[in-house]
C-alpha cells in the first residue's frame, strides 16, 4: 500500500455536514482535495474543474445508510463498487446499505464522469476517506454521550461499543454526530481488515434488472411527454434544403413537426407514431462538403503513412541511423475500420424546457459537460438546468457526447413540450460518433540478434493518440524509438470508443512483436520479458507502466494457459498490454472447425491492484475480452457516398453467444491501490487472436476485421 494510510485530510475537505430535516446525517466530501492533499480547496465551488468530484452519505435514525453513487453507471459496475469503498470505512453491514444514484451536482460532487476507466482509481482514497470521517464523527458522538475517549470505543457493522460494553447504533447518535466538528487525521483501514472490499458483491440493481423495473433512459416518462423521432442528414456532409411534412402530420398520434438546424423532429404520443411520422417525411439535401467513402479513407491514410507530414510524439535516439546499420528490418502496416458503438439501448434523452427551468433526464457519461452545453445552446444560466442520470444500456464512449441531450433540449424548447428523443437502431448506427478508421506502420531494426530500433507511425481520422500512449511499452526498452502521428480531417463524426486508439494499436503492436520474434528466431514471451528487464529502474517519468507488473501478468498468463506446451489441435496466441493504468496479458486458444478458426478459450491475467468487487471485476474482464474478439474478428462500418453501409443488426455483425469463447480470468493478488477495468482487457485480445490464427492457418493478419480478411480454404459440407 503506497502510503494510503498516511495521507491526511484537512477539515476543509468537507463541504457540508448538516442535519437532515427528516433526521439523519448528510456528509459531503470534496474528493478533489482528498486526491491531492497538497492542493488548496477551490474557493468558488461552481468553478470546480472536470477532474473533481464529491460523494454523499445519508444515515437514518434507524441506522440504515444511503450512499449516493456519484458517477454514471454504464454497466462498468461503479454503482456497486464506489459505494463499497465508502461502506467499508464507514464500517456498516453491506445489507444495511441502500445505494442511490446521485444526480448532477456541481456544488457537491465533481468528476461525475464515466470514462477512461478512472472511477475506482480516482475514487479509491477519497471515497474511503469519506466513510472513515463519517465513522469517526459517529464514534465521537457516542463517546461524548458516554463521557469516554473516542479512542476507547470500537465499531463493528454500525454498532459502537464503549469500554464498559454498552452499545449504541449509528442511528442512535446520528443527530448528535451531525452537530460535531469534522475530525481531521482519520485513519484508513489496513487492507487485511477489509470486510466489504474484496468480497463478491452483486450488482445493486440486480432485482430491478431481472424483474424489468424502469431503470434506463428509455424507461423514463413524464406526464404530457411526447416522443420525438429525428430525421438527420442521410449522408455525412449534407445540409437540409427543404422538407415536406404533410404525410408525417397525417400519421395518427403525430402532434408536431419541428425543424432545428439540419434536422427535423417528429413529435408524437407514442414512439411508434413518431417513428412512422419520421418515415413519412420527405426532404431534400445538399452535399455541402464532399461525400467520403471507405476506399477514399484507405487511400488517404496510406498516403499519410507514405508521406512526411507527421507530428513526433516521442523520439529516443536515432531510428534512421539504426535502420541504416541493421542486419534485418521488419516493416508492417496494420489497418482497422470505423466502428459504431451499438449500445443495446439506443441513444435517447428526456428534456423539459420551460421559461423557468430546463429539466434533463437520461443516460449520459458526462452530465456536467452536457448540462453546460445545453445551457450554452439555449442561452440559459447553468443554474436553471437540472440533470438526472439514469442507468445506461451501455456506453462504450458513445454516451460521452451528449448530442442526443442537446437535441432533446432544442426540440423541447421549440415545441414547448416535454419530449424524449428516441433514436431508432438505424439512427443509432447511421448517425453515430464512431471509432475512426486508423492505420499503423511499424518498423523494427535487428542488429546482432537485438532489436535496435522501433519506429511506429499512426495515420488516423480526426485526431491521433494522446496522453501517455506514445510512452507505453516498448517505449523505455529501446535506445532508438520513435512515434509519429498524422491525421486526416473528415466530416464523419468520430469520437472515443472503448479504449480509444489502443484498441487498434495494441493489436497491431502485439501482432508485430509476434512476427518480429519469429524473424529473430527467439521465444515470443522471452523477448518481452527481456525487453521489460531493460525498463526496470527507469527514471523517465513518462513511463507509466510497471515492467515488474507486466512481467508478473505475462508469467501468470503463461502458467495458467500452458502457453508454449503443445496441446493437440489447439493453437495459442499471446499478447500483453498496459493501458488505463492496468496491466494485462492474454492467451487465445483457437481450434480449426470445418476450416474456420474458432476462439475456444482466452486466458487472462490482470494486475489492477486490489480487486474491489471480484464479481463485478470478473464481468468487466470477460466482457472486455469478448468485446475485443467480436470487433477485431467481425466489426466493420464502411461508407459509400458519405452514407454508412450498415444500419442495423441484419447487416452488422455483433458477436453472439455461439461465437463466444470461455474466458478464464486470473487476478494478480497484491495490496496496491486499484485501477480500472472497463477498458484495459480489450486492446490486447485482437493481438492474441491474430497470433493464434497465424499458428492455426499460417496467415499473418494485418487488417481488421480478421474474418473478412482471412483466406479460408474450401469448407467441406
Amino acid at each position: 500500500m503506497e502510503n494510503s494510510n498516511k495521507i491526511q485530510f484537512s477539515r476543509r475537505s468537507f463541504l457540508k455536514t448538516s442535519s437532515l430535516a427528516g433526521g439523519g446525517l448528510l456528509i459531503g466530501f470534496n474528493l478533489f482535495n482528498a486526491c491531492k492533499a497538497e492542493v488548496e480547496p477551490p474557493v468558488d465551488l461552481s468553478k470546480l474543474n472536470y477532474n473533481d468530484f464529491n460523494a454523499f452519505i445519508k444515515i437514518s435514525p434507524e441506522g440504515k445508510v444511503t450512499i449516493f453513487n456519484p458517477n454514471p453507471e454504464i454497466g462498468q459496475g461503479v454503482k456497486t463498487s464506489m459505494p463499497m469503498l465508502i461502506a467499508e470505512e464507514l464500517d456498516v453491514a453491506w445489507e444495511d446499505v441502500y445505494v442511490a444514484q446521485g444526480a448532477l451536482d456541481t456544488e457537491n460532487y465533481t468528476r461525475q464522469v464515466a470514462g477512461g476507466s478512472q472511477s475506482l482509481r480516482q475514487g479509491w482514497e477519497p471515497l474511503r476517506q469519506t466513510g472513515a470521517t463519517a465513522r469517526q464523527m459517529l464514534v465521537n458522538a457516542a463517546a461524548a454521550r458516554w463521557g469516554v475517549e473516542a479512542s476507547e470505543c470500537t465499531v463493528k457493522e454500525g454498532v459502537i461499543t464503549a469500554p464498559s460494553g454498552q452499545t449504541l447504533g449509528y442511528g442512535d447518535v446520528v443527530n448528535e454526530a451531525a452537530l460535531l466538528e469534522v475530525p481531521e487525521n482519520v485513519s484508513l483501514k489496513d487492507p487485511k481488515d477489509f470486510t466489504i472490499i474484496g468480497q463478491n458483491t452483486s450488482n445493486v440493481d440486480i432485482d430491478e434488472i431481472i424483474t424489468g423495473k424502469p431503470l434506463f433512459g428509455l424507461d423514463y416518462k413524464e406526464e404530457g411527454m411526447l416522443y420525438a423521432s429525428v430525421l438527420r442528414p442521410p449522408a455525412f456532409g449534407q445540409t437540409l434544403d427543404s422538407f415536406d411534412d404533410t404525410n408525417a402530420r397525417a400519421v395518427e398520434g403525430v402532434k408536431n413537426v419541428v425543424r432545428f438546424g439540419e434536422k427535423v423532429a417528429v413529435l408524437a404520443t407514442s414512439t411508434w407514431a413518431a417513428m412512422k411520422g419520421k418515415k413519412a417525411l420527405t426532404a431534400q439535401w445538399t452535399q455541402a462538403t464532399p461525400a467520403e467513402s471507405t476506399a477514399m479513407h484507405d487511400e488517404t491514410l496510406i498516403a499519410l503513412l507514405d508521406g512526411s507530414k507527421f507530428n513526433t510524439m516521442r523520439k529516443d535516439g536515432d531510428v534512421e541511423k539504426a535502420f541504416a546499420a541493421a542486419d534485418e528490418v521488419l516493416e508492417r502496416t496494420y489497418e482497422a475500420p470505423f466502428l459504431p458503438h451499438n449500445c443495446m439501448e439506443p441513444m435517447n434523452f428526456f428534456a423539459n424546457v420551460t421559461d423557468t427551468k430546463v429539466e434533463l433526464v437520461g443516460p449520459i457519461q458526462t452530465p456536467e459537460w452536457t448540462a453546460g452545453r445545453v445551457a450554452q445552446l439555449l442561452e440559459r444560466d447553468v443554474s436553471e438546468i437540472s440533470l438526472e442520470m439514469t442507468r445506461m444500456g451501455g456506453g462504450f464512449g458513445r454516451r460521452l457526447y451528449g448530442d442526443f441531450a442537446l437535441e432533446a433540449a432544442e426540440v423541447s424548447s421549440l415545441a414547448k413540450s416535454p419530449v424524449q428523443v428516441v433514436f431508432s437502431r438505424e439512427d443509432d448506427m447511421a448517425d453515430g460518433i464512431y471509432r475512426p478508421a486508423s492505420k499503423y506502420r511499424i518498423k523494427a531494426a535487428i542488429k546482432d540478434g537485438q532489436i535496435t530500433a522501433y519506429y511506429l507511425k499512426e495515420a488516423a481520422i480526426n485526431g491521433n493518440m494522446y496522453g501517455l500512449i506514445p510512452n507505453f511499452f516498448p517505449a523505455g526498452a529501446l535506445e532508438n524509438y520513435q512515434v509519429d502521428v498524422a491525421n486526416y480531417a473528415s466530416n464523419i463524426t468520430t469520437g472515443a470508443w472503448r479504449a480509444p486508439y489502443t484498441n487498434v494499436l495494441a493489436s497491431a503492436e502485439q501482432s508485430f512483436f509476434d512476427e518480429l520474434a519469429e524473424m529473430m528466431g527467439v521465444d515470443r514471451v522471452q523477448l518481452h520479458l527481456d525487453l521489460l528487464e531493460k525498463v526496470k529502474g527507469t527514471t523517465d517519468e513518462r513511463i507509466e507502466y510497471s515492467p515488474e507488473r507486466l512481467q508478473g501478468v505475462i508469467k501468470l498468463a503463461v502458467e495458467k494457459s500452458n502457453y508454449g506446451k503443445t496441446i493437440d489441435e489447439v493453437h495459442q496466441g499471446f499478447a500483453v498490454y498496459y493501458c488505463h493504468n492496468t496491466h494485462v496479458a492474454e492467451v487465445a486458444d483457437i481450434i480449426m472447425q470445418d476450416g474456420v478458426p474458432v476462439v475456444k478459450k482466452v486466458t487472462v491475467a490482470v494486475d489492477c491492484g486490489i480487486v474491489v468487487n471480484p464479481l463485478g471485476a470478473q464481468n468487466q474482464v470477460v466482457g472486455g475480452v469478448i468485446d475485443g474478439i467480436g470487433h477485431s474478428m467481425y466489426g466493420e462500418l464502411t461508407f459509400k457516398d458519405g452514407i454508412p453501409q450498415s444500419k442495423n443488426f441484419n447487416t452488422y455483425n455483433l458477436i453472439r453467444m455461439n461465437q463466444t469463447p470461455q474466458v478464464d480470468v486470473h487476478f494478480v493478488q497484491n495490496d496496491l491501490a486499484p485501477t480500472g477495468l472497463g477498458e484495459p482487457t480489450l486492446p490486447p485480445v485482437g493481438g492474441a487472436v491474430a497470433n493464434a490464427i497465424y499458428k492455426a492457418t499460417g496467415q499473418r493478419l494485418y487488417k481488421q476485421p480478421y474474418m473478412n480478411n482471412l483466406e479460408l480454404k474450401e469448407v467441406i459440407g
Partner: protein, 152 residues
Amino acid sequence: MGTFQLKINGTKQTVEASDDTPLLWILRDHINLVGTKFGCGIAQCGACTVHLDGVATRSCSLPISSLEGKEITTIEGLSKHGEHPVQQAWKEIDVPQCGYCQAGQIMTASAFLGSNPNPTNDEIRNAMQGNICRCASYNSIEKAVKVASENL
C-alpha cells in the same frame, strides 16, 4: 386506430392503437410495462423478447392486430417477485453488466428451458444466440441457464 383486447400477464387489457403498432410499443408506451426493451426493431437482437402462448417471440415485429386471443407474458409477469428459477440464476451468477438486454435474455432462456429442461452447453449456446449482449456477458448467461436448468 382500433380497439384491441389483449391478455397480458394474466390480465385483460383494452388498448386503442393503430393496427400496425408492434406489441413492443403497446407494452412500453401504452400500458407502461417498460421491462421489455427496444433494441433493433427488426427482430435481430432479442431485447424485446416476450412469451406468446409460451413461445419466445420478438415483440418489436408483432403487430397488435395479430394478438387477440393470445397469452402474452412479459418479464414483469414471468413471476411475482423475481422468483422464477431463471431470474434467480441470473441473480446468483450476477449476470448483468449494463443490464439492458437481460429481460430479453431471461425471456428467451425461460421459454427454452420450458421445452428443453436439461440442455447441454451447446444447446444453450445455440438457443441463446439470437439475443445480443453488447457488454458480452455471454459466459455468465451460459452459466446461469445451466444453473436454472438444475433448479427447475
